[in-house]
């Protein structure tokens, strides 16, 4: 009797086991055979036309309208569907014509007369004229409209004056001498007046082209148009047959027929897809953890791994330098002092930092510019030596001493201790904060690392309720004149002391003055000299401590060709029209 059931179950178990073994063998066989041959054909001179590119993004865009949001996916969508007057070539840093064919400057560069391309039409066939350029500026500047791009196309905080002299000529006048000049026009997508005029008049330009907009209504001058949007899953772009730019051989651009943007929030899933050929490229860099499997895949010929050199941006540590922010906290005596930050810069071993956070693929940096910014990096940047003893001496000079138990204490015998905020879920930031904590422990400073979600961290430093933060303050363009928000004490990105009414310190006042001259000066050598001086002052007071800038790696499948990689997000798609796939 008992045997009946036992035999049943035994047979069941046996067949299950057989099934498992078979599947296991199948898996082994499958992973041994190489995936579909992705070895590129011998370099052909003709760039293949047609085909589909599969890219991944980490999150959904917040809008199809760059005025509404500046998150990376919205930027990418805007890049694909809209065009600008000029484009900054991210490899050469030169300004190249796009919708504007050529331009002349007058009045010491303050007045720029741009001649627009003729016979250009929007993706719906409507002709493009100078009036659309005027409209685009109006959309950015409209106060009721709430565009987030307003400051990106201002010079020195003031709007540009835009006049239309004939349907193909635009005259842009800068309110004051502005050295970066028309570089900032790379930020302004040219919108169709015939579609969005109503929204502008109603003051809702930032609400236009939200995620619920039917794709056919998103009209632009870019190489692609939105053909399908599946919320949360993907956005499908097809080629814009009316795109104005032409290939070197005279043929039409873009080369691709379709671009599918998959929304894949999980990094691991993204990597697995890339490795197995279900994805052509990621729109962000490869994290250090993912390097090894991609290298293996590259060695096997399944992907191509590119080293784009040192990053242009590094994450940094800054303290809350707002006067009075600490209230009656007795730590105010030393927490906001320059000496503390200088000591920290000396105490942290940047090699250990690079090894732990970036697995060695990083370069020590000591200031706001990295060597990747060839035009503006100050070659005289002093490299703070790793000297914990000197750090302790420096801290002793402001009254923080070690009485022999390895813990620094202030004049009232309270231990030297502060809280470091960083963002949860970003390994680079969390590891860096851990390294800082461990290194500072060696000189007797106790750091409490608190990792919060991004909303909480941003809120903390927007409301000036924190001791110290380790975070990123990325700049988009390399010309420092295009980052007034960071440099000027009144700026909204002057993170250690946001939007000061008057400079709180003498050195900030000095930087304000130097940057004002730097932005206005027409002489490139003079500008460089002034900016070097700014970096020098920065290194003397270290409002933000930079440690290591990572090397940037990107990967793509071997079927993608004709790329122009540059260290600028998205590294492989900042120039989407010329990307091609072998199919």
């Amino acid at each position: 009797m008992g045997q009946l059931l036992t035999r049943h179950t035994r047979r069941l178990a046996f067949s299950v086991a057989i099934a498992l073994i078979c599947s296991g063998l199948g898996a082994a066989c499958r992973s041994n055979t190489s995936s579909e041959s992705a070895a590129p054909a011998a370099a052909t001179r003709a760039i293949p036309r047609g085909g589909e590119l599969l890219v991944s993004v980490r999150s959904e865009p917040r809008s199809f309208n760059r005025h509404a949001s500046r998150d990376s996916t919205t930027n990418l969508v805007s890049n694909l569907t809209q065009s600008r007057l000029v484009v900054v070539n991210q490899v050469t840093q030169a300004v190249e014509p796009s919708l504007a064919e050529r331009w002349t400057t007058a009045d010491e560069g303050r007045r720029v007369t741009m001649t627009l391309r003729r016979d250009v039409v929007f993706s719906d066939g409507h002709p493009f004229t100078a009036d659309d350029v005027l409209f685009s500026f109006e959309a950015a500047y409209d106060e009721k409209g709430g565009s987030l791009l307003a400051e990106a196309v201002e010079a020195g905080g003031k709007k540009l004056q835009v006049a239309v002299t004939d349907p193909y000529t635009v005259v842009i006048t800068f309110p004051a001498p502005f050295a970066p000049g028309i570089r900032i026009l790379d930020n302004l997508p040219i919108f169709p007046r015939h579609h969005l005029d109503a929204a502008l008049k109603a003051g809702t330009i930032a609400k236009a082209w939200g995620l619920d907009t039917p794709p056919s209504e998103i009209v632009g001058l870019g190489p692609f148009v939105v053909s399908q949007y599946v919320p949360g899953q993907r956005i499908v772009f097809s080629r814009n047959p009316h795109y104005f730019a032409k290939a070197p051989d005279g043929g039409a651009l873009p080369y691709l027929d379709r671009l599918v943007m998959e929304i894949i929030p999980d990094q691991s899933a993204k990597l697995l897809r890339l490795e197995s050929g279900q994805l052509d490229m990621m729109t962000s860099e490869v994290s250090p953890d993912a390097y090894a499997p991609l290298k293996r895949a590259a060695d096997e010929g399944r992907v191509t791994l590119l080293d784009l050199g040192v990053s242009r941006n590094a994450d940094g540590l800054w303290f809350n330098l707002k006067p009075g922010a600490l209230g009656s906290d007795p730590r105010a005596a030393w927490l906001q002092r320059d000496e503390l930050r200088l000591a920290i810069s000396m105490a942290v071993d940047r090699k250990v930092f690079a090894d732990t956070v970036f697995l060695g693929a990083g370069v020590p940096v000591y200031g706001p510019e990295t060597p990747a910014n060839k035009n503006w990096y100050w070659s005289g940047q002093p490299r703070t030596p790793h000297d914990p003893a000197a750090a302790k001496t420096l801290l002793a000079s402001i009254g923080l001493t070690d009485r022999g138990d390895g813990v620094l204490k202030d004049a009232r015998s309270q231990p030297v201790r502060f809280t470091l905020l960083t963002q949860k879920g970003r390994p680079n930031l969390e590891r860096a904060a851990a390294v800082i904590r461990d290194e500072l422990k060696k000189i007797g400073v106790t750091v409490d690392v608190v990792a919060l979600d991004s909303g909480a961290v941003i809120n903390a430093f927007l409301t000036a309720r924190y001791d110290a933060v380790y975070f990123n303050a990325d700049k988009t363009d390399l010309d420092p004149g295009t980052n007034p928000d960071y440099w000027f004490s009144s700026g909204s990105a002057h993170v250690w002391n946001l939007e000061e009414k008057t400079p709180a310190t003498e050195w900030e006042r000095r930087i304000d003055e130097l940057m004002t001259r730097q932005i206005a000066s027409p002489d490139p050598a003079e500008r460089k000299r002034l900016y070097d001086e700014v970096q020098k002052i920065f290194s003397e007071h270290l409002p933000m401590i930079y440690f290591v800038a990572p090397r940037i790696y990107v990967a793509h499948s071997t079927r993608v060709t004709n790329l122009t990689p540059a260290e600028y997000r998205p590294q492989l798609l900042w120039r989407p029209a010329t990307v091609a796939v072998i199919h």
Binding site: A292, K424, A456
Partner: protein, 336 residues
């Protein structure tokens, strides 16, 4: 016998947790800079030539930093040091060739050490919370099932409300209200309280169902007829019949709480570094795509959890309900 195996596993877990500072080769926050994600240093007793020695290990040498590949340095044997420096076993050359029985994690910390110390945190928290949840849940469920009527309704609806409120939102809001820096004991108390509250409704529902149906059985009616007070009836006669269910619930709650600790640390309500916990160790491991193929030792907390839960399972499930105090149960089982 399976029960013995269960007891052995549980004892081993408790022993490792209490003896962690001595049994672990390193301090919980010790990290080795050049050994990120290093593989385990396997103790050998015979060298390449076949000669026998006291147990020793080989040093790991970094072959490729970016790929995190290591080569064994077979040129020198590094013998193990026993009962030195307050630890059961260490390597005789801690600086250059530390003993990494389960490899190192992405910060270069010894996984085995963190596993032992993590046992204290995670097991302590999970067991405390599970016991608390069991106590509260059993009491509430028992009273609800026994009393019936309005009290039953109120208690069960309150339980529903607690179950339904998303814990993440509460945690996030709590994070905003509490001070930024919490000490480990404070976090322990907070998490234990949260888990006990969150876990109690599940226990309460099941116990209530059992008590309600048991209440109408002959023995309960008889006891009541004989003059047993409500409380005595509930505690001595009805609740024990829920024993089996409660036992299973405990074995379900313990791993759930260990994992939940890691989830809550995502909104910032976790243990401060360098306190180790199994949940966060697994969370960190999950973040690394290479964990299955290249760094499987990072998953040892899952194995440890499995052994502990299995042990608890074996111990609890082999105890019989004592309602029928005769051998009939055993007899039926053996016949079947």
């Amino acid at each position: 016998m399976t029960r013995g195996l269960g007891l052995a596993l549980v004892t081993l877990a408790l022993l490792s947790a209490t003896a962690a500072p001595v049994a672990a080769p390193h301090a919980v926050d010790a990290h080795f800079a050049g050994l990120l994600n290093a593989p385990p240093t396997v103790p050998h007793v015979a060298d390449a030539a076949g000669a026998w020695h006291a147990p020793f290990i080989y040093r790991w040498q970094l072959a490729n930093q970016l790929e995190q590949r290591y080569d064994e340095d077979r040129s020198t044997r590094v013998p193990l040091a026993w009962f030195s420096g307050g630890h059961v076993v260490r390597s005789s050359d801690e600086a250059a060739a530390p003993l990494l029985l389960l490899g190192a994690d992405s910060y270069g910390r010894d996984v085995f050490t963190r596993l032992l110390f993590g046992a204290r945190t995670s097991l302590g928290l999970a067991v405390t919370a599970a016991l608390a949840a069991m106590l509260v849940g059993t009491l509430l469920g028992g009273v609800a099932g026994f009393a019936g009527g309005v009290l039953d309704d109120v208690l069960m609806r309150a339980a529903d409300f607690v179950m339904v409120l998303p814990a993440m939102y509460v945690a996030l809001a709590l994070r905003a209200v509490l001070p930024l820096v919490l000490t480990a004991p404070q976090v322990f108390a907070l998490l234990a309280a949260i888990f006990a509250v969150v876990g109690a409704p599940f226990v309460a529902r099941g116990v209530r169902a059992i008590v309600r149906s048991e209440r109408r059985l002959d023995y309960a009616v008889a006891a009541q007829a004989l003059g047993a007070s409500d409380a005595r009836l509930l505690v001595r006669h009805l609740l024990p019949s829920a024993r089996g269910f409660i036992a299973v619930q405990i074995t379900l709650l313990i791993p759930a709480f260990i994992i939940a600790e890691a989830t809550l640390s995502y909104v910032g309500l976790g243990f401060p570094d360098p306190v180790a916990s199994w949940g966060t160790m697994l969370q960190e491991a999950s973040g690394n795509i290479r964990v299955f193929a290249d760094f499987p030792w990072l998953l040892s907390p899952a194995a440890a959890m499995f052994l502990v839960v299995l042990g608890v399972n074996l111990v609890l499930q082999n105890s019989r309900p004592e309602r029928l105090r005769d051998d009939r149960g055993a007899g039926v089982k053996s016949v079947l």
